[in-house]
Amino acid sequence: MKFPVLVEVKLREGIADPQGATIERALPALGFAGVEGVRVGKAIRFMVEAPDETAARALVTKLCERFLTNPVIEDADITVG
């Protein structure tokens, strides 16, 4: 079976996010007040072939650990299906 996958890569908690901080600082000047906690990540979408959803998730988890994230600074949220 083929499963659609969404991997959201985000900086781990406590890791400084200069992109998020810059966006947050720019918002008031653009007229957007009250926005806080901006964090910038990446969204990666693809299809994966696997016998079932559990197997698909296991494969994607491994893929994230080995390639799509740098575990020193990043985490991933994985959505399958």
Partner: protein, 220 residues
Amino acid sequence: MVLFPGSNCEHDVVAAIEGLGGTAELVWHGDRSLHGVDVVVLPGGFAHGDYLRPGAIARFSPVMAAVTDHAAAGGVVIGICNGFQVLAEAGLLPGALQKNRGLKFLCRTVELRVETARSALTTEVPVGTILHVPINHFEGNYTCSPETLAELRADERVVFRYVDNPNGSIDDIAGICSTGRNVVGLMPHPERACDELTGSADGRPLLRSLLTAGLATRPA
């Protein structure tokens, strides 16, 4: 010199090494052999376009298995700038390089303090020496876990610190080495500081140390 698609500092290193009496050759990243070299240098640039993360794809280049074997056998491996990012991604050095604090691409000469003479790049440079060496990077903000930092400090594996931290690196770190002290990664470019005519010759003693270390680790 390993040449990845997107490397752009390899000829600077070749010129610097040859200027010091060494010989250098380029090894394509798709090559599985290092051709019996004494020292491997991973140069600066944008290997594989820096897509996903700097070094993330380069670490899977076929040549990296040979580089890992060379390092494991005690051979000297140096990563400069993008090369440091590749070594970190490959797990040959701990930690990671993040986007600079302030989000600016930094291209200027900085002051570096040599923190240990016990690394393949610094055997001929006394601790405390201040060197003027250019940096040229967007993702040079070194970061690691508190445990790793404690280890690096306890083992004297911080090789260089910035005198005036330009990029937000933890503990002002500009370069580190492996437990065996044969693998060294640094963000500044010693090969661009090899002639007074272009601003500084402070990179020369570093590259001389490298050649000495290469000879010392040559298999008998």
